[in-house]
């Protein structure tokens, strides 16, 4: 099997969480001989090559960060240049987001099924998972821990040919968290996490409060 992978993140590859997820996913994907070619929508110079790959391959996988409950505007701009295929091509998706609850990804996921149809492709399912906001800020060890589960999902895609299995469904994790967890995590976000965000911000050269209002 050969898969065309399109990273739909508008963020440059170096800082793309989606790219880091794909790095692990493709490790698992290729273990038993599946091959792939990968493109980045963030690099407009690649758009002609992506169109050619889309037109000449029948197994396409788009990896997408959730932007305001749907796909990023830049990816949409690229997709608007494609011609619907109607030739049995399968289009599958990896959808990732910052918030941890599965429920936060469902509106975006619902669109991906519509999108596959609009592009005249068979829907190969969506591997949806959140809690990925900080991947690019993590050190190597934590990043490895957070992204490594995607390796198994790469194996699963290679074995099943799509994301419709029970293992893929379970990969999302809980739809929402129980009240006890919410109280605990809520307290953490009001204290420890704020410090951690401030530290990241200071590292980026931020000199203002993160609640600063530039416009009156």
């Amino acid at each position: 099997m050969h898969v065309v992978i399109i990273n739909g993140s508008p963020r440059v590859k170096e800082f793309s969480n989606t790219d880091k997820i794909l790095a692990k996913f493709t490790e698992g994907l290729t273990e038993n001989g599946t091959t792939f070619e990968q493109y980045e929508v963030s690099d407009r110079k690649q758009w002609d090559a992506i169109r050619t790959a889309y037109n000449t391959n029948k197994n396409i996988l788009m990896a997408i960060p959730l932007y305001v409950e749907n796909i990023p505007g830049l990816l949409l701009e690229f997709l608007e240049t494609l011609t619907p295929k109607n030739d049995g091509t399968q289009l599958s998706f990896i959808l990732q987001g910052g918030f941890a609850e599965g429920s936060q990804l469902r509106c975006g996921e619902a669109y991906l099924e519509i999108l596959a149809k609009e592009l005249g492709c068979e829907y190969g399912g969506t591997l949806a998972k959140g809690d990925n906001f900080s991947i690019r800020f993590f050190g190597e060890q934590t990043r490895e821990r957070v992204t490594s589960p995607y390796k198994e999902m790469g194996r699963e895609f290679a074995a099943q040919g799509n994301f419709k299995s029970e293992a893929c469904r379970k990969f999302t994790g809980p739809e929402t968290f129980p009240l006890k967890i919410r109280i605990l995590v809520g307290a953490m976000f009001a204290t420890v996490a704020r410090k951690s965000f401030k530290k990241i911000a200071a590292g980026l050269g931020c000199t203002k409060s993160l609640k600063y209002r530039p416009y009156k």
């Binding site: 993140s9 508008p10 963020r11 440059v12 800082f15 793309s16 963030s42 960060p65 932007y67 305001v68 409950e69 749907n70 796909i71 990023p72 505007g73 830049l74 949409l76 701009e77 997709l79 608007e80 918030f99 941890a100 609850e101 429920s103 936060q104 509106c107 619902a110 669109y111 519509i114 999108l115 149809k117 609009e118 592009l119 929402t176 968290f177 919410r182 995590v185 809520g186 976000f189 009001a190 996490a193 704020r194 965000f197 990241i200 911000a201 980026l204 050269g205 931020c206 203002k208 409060s209 993160l210 609640k211 600063y212 209002r213 530039p214 416009y215």
Partner: protein, 167 residues
């Protein structure tokens, strides 16, 4: 203030909105953004972490953002593509992130960003062309949840009157 932003290059829709709103004595502020320079969100997160509240992409969006923070309602007129609003309409929404902060809290069962300003506008869509109306309504609802406001619905340009009645 009711803010109406037309992201299409066709001003006939916004003219119609303006006319109908005047007939109903509704005071709207209309921004024609179809020919403005508004790029896509590049996902840098600077608006949350480096220059809080300010977008790193310097173009015509900033002047609109300054209006959004005072709006009671935000109506976006957009063309459609692939069953959804088109990329110009979506870019408009993607670029709204500076009105949220990096801080997080639970609101009901889901986590949300803490808002940067005291109030966020209710959201409505007026779309021109073919789209999945049921999905657009669902999506607008979700956008509003993120703004901690309410959805005013998604309306085809064939039903502008209905949209204006909701303003």
């Amino acid at each position: 203030m009711i803010l109406v932003v037309n992201t299409t290059a066709d001003t006939s829709v916004s003219e119609e909105v303006k006319k109908l709103a005047a007939e109903e004595n509704k005071d709207i502020k209309l921004i024609e953004a179809g020919n403005k320079k508004i790029g896509n969100c590049i996902g840098c997160n600077y608006c949350w972490l480096k220059t809080p509240g300010e977008c790193a992409v310097k173009d015509d969006y900033e002047e609109i953002l300054k209006e959004i923070i005072h709006a009671k309602e935000l109506w976006v007129i957009s063309d459609t593509a692939l069953g959804f609003i088109n990329h110009k309409g979506k870019n408009f929404f993607d670029r709204i992130l500076p009105i949220a902060t990096m801080y997080l809290k639970f609101k009901g069962k889901e986590m949300r960003h803490v808002a940067r300003y005291k109030s966020s506008p209710d959201v409505g869509i007026i779309y021109r062309g073919e789209a999945d109306k049921a999905y657009l309504n669902r999506w607008t609802e979700r956008c509003a949840i993120n703004f901690e406001s309410k959805s005013l619905g998604a309306y085809s340009t064939e039903n502008i009157k209905e949209a204006v009645a909701c303003m």
